[in-house]
Symmetry: C2
Subunit: 624 residues, 2 copies
C-alpha cells in the first residue's frame, strides 16, 4: 500500500521533512529549508539541481529529460534531477544526498578588501534544448514549439523570433536558448553553447569604467577605462546640464558621445578577452544621477534647479538595441536605481558593495568626488546627503593643482622646526604639480608646524625663505624650481589653502549633519569607509587633523576604492542584489543639506582647522 | 452601532447584495453581478463609474478626487464615483442608482450587415491628473510622483520618461496620461486632452486597407486603401517568399516597402481626418500568415516548405517605433494571432467579425482570395483549411481576365436558345475584360445552355457564330469587338474554363472535406458566409450551379465583405475581442488539405460541373 506521508532526509545536513506522494525532491527541499541550485525554476531545463538518491524504491523512474542531462556514469551513481524526481509513496523514507555543486551556498566574492556574501544568481541563463520536429501531424508554430518545451509563460524577443526559424533548422532542432529574468528569451543559437557574459559599467563624471564578467562563475575577466567623452563639453556636471538647457539638441549630443564611449569600452573588453559581443547578454549601469539621466537621454535640467528632483528613481530595464549599445541586440540593460537628485546609482552601488546596509554596526561611507556622497547607517536605517565638495581635490582652482597622475606630488611632510619640506611624487618623477591627497597633507603639515593658524591664515612671522608674499599675497614653496620639471617654484597660496578648507568643510559638514540628525556620536561609528579613486591616496591621520572626516581611531578608517562600479558588478551576477539595490534606493532617507537649519553654522565651524570645536578632534588637539 | 452587514440595492435592476463595511460600491456591484463601467480598474482615475446614491448616510464623505471629477450639479444630484464610495456601516441599507452612461452594456456595432455585440473597451485610455508639485519636503522623482497618483504597478515607456520632466512643468503639474492595457504609460501631454485614435490594418496580398478609429466611441472615421507595394516583387505570395529564400536582403526590402505603404496609409488617414499621428496610440494588424511574417520581418521561408509551419502563432505586441511605423512612438502594435501556415490572422479576423465562434448553429465561412480560407464551425468547435484557389478569380491566367475594376464585365447572361449574350460592366463602361464573378456566370450559363458539358468541354456542334475554333482551340465570344473598348472580341477559351474549374474545385474540395471530417451535412449548415472583396460580386445561384459552394438555399448565402479588416477593428476597440481572437487561434483545428486521404478524389470530382455527384446539387440538377 502506498504511503501518504513520506519522510525525506537530506544529507549532509540531516534535515528532514514529511511530504505527500507526487511531490518533487526540489519541492521537499524547499519545504525543509534546504537550498538546492535551480536556475530554471524547477522545469527540468537547467540541470543544476543534481542530487544523489541511493535507493531507487519510492521514486518515479528516470525521466527522458534526466537521461539527456545526466551522464551514464552519473546515472550509475544514483544521480537524479531534484525537480523531476517524485516520491511515489512506495517507500516510507527516502534519503537524498546533495553534492557540493548543487548546494546553493553563498559564494564569498572578494571586493578589493571586502569579502561579501553574494549568491551567484545572474538574471541570464542558458539552456540546451531538443525541440520536436514539425510534421503534418504536428504543425505547431516554431515559437509555440519552443515554448512548449520551456513552459509557456515566456516572451520571445522580436530579434529572436526573426532568427528562430533559421536557427531551429540549422541546429537540426537542437538549440541553446538564453533567457533573461525567467521571462524573456533573448537569444537562440544552433547547437550547444554555454558562454554568457555581462558588463558592469560605472559612469563617472570624469571617467567610465567597464568590467567584463563571466556570468557562469561571476568572475571579472577584463577591465577597461576611458575618459568620459563628455569632458570636452565641461568638466563639471553643472556645465553639461546648463548646455542642455541652453540648446535642446545638446542633450542628444551628450547622450550620443556617452553611448559611443561605452561602445568603445565594450569593443575593447571583447577584443582583450576574444569574445563575441553577441554573447554579452546584460549590462548593469551605475552613475551619479546626472550621468544616469544622460545615459538614457532624459533631460537632467531639474537636477540643477530647485528642488533638484530626478526624473525617475526606480531601476530601469531597457533593451540594448534601444540605446544603440552594441551588445547582443536583445540584451538587457539594467540601470540601478538612484536615491535623489544628487545621490545617484553610484551611491546605491557603494552601499551594496560595502554591505553597510546589512551590518548591525553603524558605518559612515564617503564617496569623494566633485560631488561627494555621504551615507550613514546600518541594517536598520540609512541616510544620505550630497555635498558640493567641488573639484579642488582634482586640482581645479589650485595654483599648482593637478590630477593624481604621473609627476604629481602626492604626499608632503614639513619639518615643524626647520620648515624643510619632503615630498613624494607619483612614479617618483620630478614634480609638475600637487594633487588632492598632497593638499590635505600640506594643510595638516602647515598647521602642525604653526605656519598657518586655525583659520588657515599664514602667520606672517615665519622665518623661512619658503614663506613669502608676492603682491601682498602670502604663499609657501613646496618645491623649488630646480627640483621641478617646471620653470617655476611649486607653491601653495593662501587662496589654495582656502579652497581646500571649503572642500573639506563641505564634506565634514555632510558627515556632521547626518550624524546629528540620527543622533549618532563618533564613538558609535564602527568604520569610516572612504570610496572613490581620490580616497585611495589620502593619509588618514592628516585627514583627521585637517578635519576632513570625524576623528575616530585610524584603524577604523578604510579606503575601499571604486565600490560604485563593484555595486554594478554584484547586481550583474545576483538577482538578489538587484532587489537589495531597489530596497536601498527606497529605504535611504535623503537629507537636502543646504536646507538643513544647522547647515550654515556647521559649515562655518568646519572651515576652521580642524574645526571650531577642537575638542572633537583629539588627534589634532595633541598639536596645540 | 455600526452594522457589519450592509445590504446594497442596485437600481434599475433591483439586484441586491450584502457586504461588510469599508467595501466600495464598485466591489459590491461586482459581487452582485451588476456591471458598472470602469476603465482604470477602480482607482478613481477614469471617472467612468458614476452612480447616484440618494441618501448620504452610511457612506464615506465625498473624496477630494470625486470633487475634482464630478461637476457641482452632479454632486448636488447625489452623484458619486462607485470605486471611491465606501459603505461605513452606519446604515443598514444603501440604494445605488446606476445611470445609463455608467452601465457596461454591450454596444451593438454594425459590421456591414452584421450586428455584433462588442463592448467598447479599448486597450488605450486617457486620464487627466493633477500631480503634487515637488518641494524640499517632497523630493520624490517625477516618475514616482506620477505613479503614486496612478497606483504603482505601471511601467513608463522610455519615450515618456524622456519628456516627463518637461511636460509636468509645462502643464503646471496638470497632465493627461495615456495608458496601454492598464500596464504602461505611453504618452503624457500638458493639460487636458481626450483625443485618442487607433488604426486597424488589413494586410492583403494585393491591397492594404487602413481604418482610422476614434477610440472614444469605437467609430471608424476614415478608411484608406493602397495597392500592396510588394506587388512589384510578385503578384503571388510564393514568388515573394521565393525571393527571400534566394537573396537574404530581400526580406528586409519586402518588409521595408510594406512599412512604407502602411505609413502612407497612416499619413493619408491623418490628413483626411486632420489629426496628429502622435494621437494614434494603437494599431491592430491582420493578414495572411505570409504578410504577417513580412510585417514583422520574420523569414516566411518555411511557410512555403513542408510541413508549412509558421514561425509564431500567438498574438504579438510590438512598440510602433521598433517597426518604424509612424504613430505615437510608444504606440502599441497588436498583431492578431494566426491559425496555421496558410490560415492567417485574416481568418481569425473573419471568425471574430462574423461571430461564427459564438453561434449555436454551424456556419461555413469562405474568404475567397488567391488563397481561400475556409472555416467551418460553431460555438463548440471550428475547423479551418486553406485552398490554393489561385489568381484566376483576379483575372490571372484568363485570356481576357482582369480585376473587378471599371470596364470589367461583372455579370453575364446567355440565352439558352439563341445563345445571345447579355452582360453588365462595372460603371457601365465599354467592356475591356472579364472579372472573376462574370467567369462564374459564364461557366454556369454555358453549362445551362448546354454549350459546354459537365466536364467543361465545348460541345462542337453549337450553331452560333459566337462559338468558333481558332487553331483547333475552341472559344466563345462574350462581347464582339465593336461593343468593346478593345480592338478585338472578348472571348472565353477552353483553357479559361478549365482554369476556373480548377479554382472552383479547390474551394469546393475544401468545403467538402471540412464537412466530411466533422460529419456535417449540407442541411446542417445554417449559413454560408462569403468574405473577401471578390465575393461581393458573385451570383449565389450561379455559384451553386457551377459547384463553387455547397448547394444550400440561396437565402442562407450571405456576402459579408472585408470581415478580416473588421476583425482587426473589433480587436482595436475591445480587449475582450482580443482575448477571443487568441481563443479562436488556439481552438481552431487546422486541416492540411493536401494531406487528407480524400483530397485527390474529392478534388477530381469537384472539377466537374457542378460535381461528379450531381445529386448533391439540386439547383443545377434542374437544368439536366
Amino acid at each position: 500500500m502506498k504511503k501518504k506521508e513520506i519522510r525525506i532526509v537530506f544529507e549532509p545536513s540531516g534535515k528532514q521533512v514529511v511530504v505527500g506522494p507526487e511531490k518533487s525532491i526540489l519541492e521537499a527541499a524547499s519545504k525543509a529549508g534546504v537550498s538546492i541550485r535551480s536556475e530554471c525554476g524547477g522545469r527540468g531545463l537547467c540541470g543544476k539541481c543534481k542530487v544523489i538518491i541511493p535507493s531507487k524504491t519510492g521514486l518515479n523512474p528516470l525521466t527522458k529529460n534526466e537521461k539527456s542531462r545526466l551522464t551514464a556514469k552519473e546515472i550509475e551513481k544514483g544521480f537524479r534531477l531534484a525537480c523531476l524526481s517524485l516520491v511515489t509513496g512506495e517507500a516510507e523514507n527516502v534519503t537524498v544526498i546533495i553534492p557540493e555543486e548543487s548546494r546553493l551556498e553563498k559564494r564569498r566574492i572578494l571586493i578589493e578588501g571586502f569579502e561579501r556574501d553574494v549568491s551567484l544568481e545572474p538574471a541570464i541563463y542558458k539552456v540546451f534544448l531538443e525541440v520536436p520536429k514539425p510534421s503534418l501531424e504536428d504543425v505547431r508554430a516554431d515559437a509555440e514549439r519552443l515554448l512548449n518545451v520551456l513552459g509557456e509563460k515566456m516572451e520571445i524577443s522580436l530579434e529572436v523570433l526573426r532568427k528562430l526559424p533559421t536557427v531551429l533548422r540549422d541546429g537540426n532542432w537542437r538549440v541553446s536558448v538564453t533567457i533573461w529574468n525567467n521571462q524573456r528569451i533573448i537569444d537562440i543559437e544552433a547547437g550547444r553553447s554555454d558562454e554568457s557574459y555581462g558588463v558592469a559599467v560605472d559612469l563617472g563624471t570624469s571617467k567610465i569604467i567597464g568590467y567584463l564578467v563571466d556570468l557562469s562563475n561571476g568572475d571579472i575577466i577584463r577591465t577597461a577605462t576611458i575618459e568620459n567623452p563628455q569632458l570636452v563639453y565641461g568638466e563639471d556636471l553643472v556645465t553639461r546640464i546648463s548646455l542642455t538647457i541652453e540648446e535642446k539638441e545638446k542633450l542628444q549630443e551628450l547622450h550620443n558621445v556617452l553611448i559611443e564611449g561605452i561602445n568603445t569600452i565594450i569593443e575593447e573588453l571583447c577584443k582583450k578577452a576574444s569574445i563575441n559581443p553577441n554573447r554579452i547578454y546584460e549590462m548593469t549601469v551605475v552613475g551619479n544621477t546626472a550621468m544616469h539621466h544622460f545615459f538614457m537621454a532624459i533631460p537632467p535640467k531639474n537636477l540643477a534647479l530647485y528642488p533638484y528632483v530626478p526624473a525617475v528613481k526606480y531601476p530601469i530595464n531597457i533593451q540594448a538595441k534601444k540605446l544603440n549599445v552594441k551588445l547582443n541586440p536583445s540584451a538587457n540593460i539594467h540601470v540601478l536605481p538612484v536615491i535623489a537628485g544628487f545621490v545617484g546609482a553610484d551611491a546605491v552601488g557603494d552601499v551594496l558593495a560595502t554591505g553597510i546596509y546589512e551590518s548591525e554596526k553603524t558605518q559612515l561611507l564617503i564617496d569623494i568626488g566633485t560631488n561627494t556622497e555621504i551615507i550613514l547607517g546600518n541594517k536598520k536605517w540609512l541616510i544620505a546627503c550630497s555635498c558640493a565638495s567641488g573639484p579642488a581635490f582634482e586640482g581645479m582652482h589650485i595654483k599648482h593643482g593637478m590630477k593624481a597622475v604621473s609627476g604629481a606630488i602626492e604626499r608632503v611632510w614639513i619639518n615643524p622646526k626647520t620648515y624643510e619640506v619632503k615630498y613624494k611624487t607619483i612614479d617618483n618623477k620630478k614634480p609638475i604639480g600637487i594633487c588632492g591627497s598632497a593638499m590635505i597633507d600640506i594643510l595638516a603639515e602647515l598647521w602642525k608646524a604653526k605656519i598657518i593658524d586655525f583659520r588657515g591664515k599664514f602667520k606672517n612671522r615665519i622665518n623661512t625663505p619658503r614663506y613669502r608674499e608676492i603682491n601682498n599675497k602670502p604663499e609657501f614653496v613646496i618645491a623649488w624650481r630646480h627640483e621641478t620639471a617646471l620653470n617655476e617654484d611649486i607653491v601653495v597660496t593662501q587662496d589654495d589653502i582656502h579652497e581646500i578648507q571649503l572642500a573639506k568643510a563641505a564634506i565634514h559638514t555632510g558627515c556632521a549633519i547626518l550624524m546629528k540628525r540620527k543622533n549618532i556620536k563618533k564613538k558609535q561609528i564602527d568604520k569610516i569607509l572612504i570610496a572613490g579613486t581620490f580616497g585611495n591616496y589620502l593619509d588618514p591621520v592628516n585627514s583627521k587633523i585637517v578635519g576632513l572626516i570625524p576623528d575616530i581611531p585610524t584603524g577604523k578608517i578604510k579606503f575601499v576604492g571604486n565600490t560604485a562600479g563593484l555595486g554594478a558588478k554584484v547586481v550583474l551576477i545576483s538577482k538578489e542584489m538587484r532587489r537589495k539595490a531597489e530596497e536601498i534606493s527606497k529605504k535611504t532617507e535623503y537629507l537636502e543639506l543646504a536646507a538643513d537649519p544647522d547647515f550654515k553654522v556647521e559649515f562655518a565651524h568646519s572651515i576652521y582647522i580642524p574645526h571650531k570645536n577642537i575638542d572633537n578632534f583629539p588627534t589634532a588637539k595633541k598639536y596645540v
